[in-house]
Point group: C2
DNA sequence: TATTGTTATACTCTATAACTATA
DNA sequence: TATAGTTATAGAGTATAACAATA
């Protein structure tokens, strides 16, 4: 039962928090010459290679047309490979290079450091519960 | 110390959550013929009347030029009053009308019901901690 | 005919600059 | 001259439509 009714709407708290988190990431990404979408794409290629660009676009919540320039840039700089699928030459197999993995992890580490400063404002218990709740609520 | 390092970046969880919260609000607001910015403005006029439109814009994180059409609409529909300040006739004193308060509370109630569905996925303890943490982190 | 990637175009939202009226 | 509000314009980011290559 809601005991906590005297508070702003969730969106009124979550959206500004998201904005400030994005703002905190931006200088870190700039230090590694990554755009936000470039970093998100690298994170989306975290594990196994993806079979199509459209699959990546959907996975990271981007438009497939918007992704193209992002991938062009990542490829030019040697962060990803875009190989035509021998089985279906329309599709492009996407994978991260070692160099791409390095820059992604370096950026991620910097971002984590910034996040620590924020999370330090929470008690250890609230911090754990907050992260647990976030993971629950952010997946559809 | 971070025990929770195997997780997406905070922004990668918070921003999508914010988007889904906004998406959940939209049908409720439409039911009350409110735009998101209209609702946000009504919420910003929660308590005491504000002395200027620029003050409201800053309070809700909006551009003052963007607020004008929003306030025009709210005033036309009798949700707010915009009275020239007798002490400084450049400024407009802003306040909510009873009608505006009613529509805001009705919308708020609908939004809270939607939020309940989401928060129900959390344990009571995590829910309390999540809201406490959100309030801490969303204020600068 | 349908789908992948691509390009070109249009649209939405937001910010910047310029104007008026008061001070 | 400086400020509150307003208007008009320009910009960034995003989505839609149309196209070439392949299936």
């Amino acid at each position: 039962m809601p005991v906590d009714d005297d508070r702003p709407d969730l969106a009124a708290m979550v959206v500004p928090l998201g904005r400030s988190l994005v703002a905190a990431e931006e200088p870190v990404l700039r230090d590694h010459s990554l755009t936000m979408w470039g970093y998100i794409a690298l994170c989306g290629l975290d594990e196994a290679p993806l079979r199509t660009q459209a699959a990546l676009a959907q996975a990271i919540g981007a438009d497939k047309t918007r992704l193209i320039g992002v991938l062009d840039d990542l490829q030019e700089r040697g962060f990803i490979r875009r190989e035509p699928d021998p089985a279906d030459r329309r599709a492009h197999l996407l994978s991260v290079t070692a160099k791409g993995r390095r820059v992604r992890e370096a950026a991620r580490a910097g971002i984590r450091r910034r996040e620590e400063e924020l999370l330090a404002r929470l008690s250890p218990g609230d911090r754990r519960a907050f992260l647990r709740a976030l993971r629950t609520l952010s997946q559809p």
